[in-house]
């Protein structure tokens, strides 16, 4: 089935140790998003890619970076994770120009723990 895949599902890292989360999609969608969801809070957009164009949200910390080497893959890099970065990270995709208003397709998420 076409879908959005996130690896790993659970990631444990140490305070200050760089970590990379991975997202891949088989939908061939041109837009990919990264959301952060802390416990009992709403998902919050960090940034998105429109094709190769990177769009950062104004309040996303510099500690968070992203790479999109091709249409299928997108990575979230946290350069120096702090305890406050522990959260569920959701990847989503959508297709620009859809006739119907754009649905975002979500992956299962990666739960990041920072020790």
């Amino acid at each position: 089935d076409a879908m959005v895949i996130q690896n790993p599902r659970y990631q444990v890292t140490q305070f200050g140790k760089p970590v990379t989360l991975s997202c891949s999609q088989t939908l061939n969608h041109n837009v990919m998003y990264w959301y952060q969801q802390k416990s009992s809070q709403a998902p919050k957009l960090l940034f998105h890619y429109y094709d190769k164009d990177f769009n950062n949200e104004a309040d996303t910390p510099d500690n968070f970076q992203s790479r999109r080497p091709n249409t299928s893959f997108c990575f979230l890099d946290i350069r120096s994770p702090g305890l406050g970065d522990a959260a569920m990270y959701l990847c989503a995709t959508s297709r620009d120009g859809a006739v119907d208003y754009n649905e975002q397709f979500f992956g299962p998420g990666t739960r990041l723990t920072v020790l």
């Binding site: 837009v31 809070q41 709403a42 998902p43 957009l45 429109y50 620009d96 119907d100 208003y101 754009n102």
Partner: protein, 111 residues
Amino acid sequence: AQRVTQPEKLLSVFKGAPVELKCNYSYSGSPELFWYVQYSRQRLQLLLRHISRESIKGFTADLNKGETSFHLKKPFAQEEDSAMYYCALKGGGTSYGKLTFGQGTILTVHP
């Protein structure tokens, strides 16, 4: 700035009872509103969108611009409706872009 408020964190009803999940929004332009649902151990997925004026799994939602609301309703709740429901807003006028989510409402339907 765009903002979505779901005033109820938890909502419990009995099977067969009507259910209404409240959503209010703040946005200066013309919004696109969505309801997303997350069933237990499943990923977040779209339930319905205001532009389609559709009924999905018996749920409907009407955009009320005067009251800036987009409440989700179902006349007869079923146990399988138990889930986390998020109201979301997209602004900007493009067919892609940032979703601003509400805090979510956990709906529990008791047998």
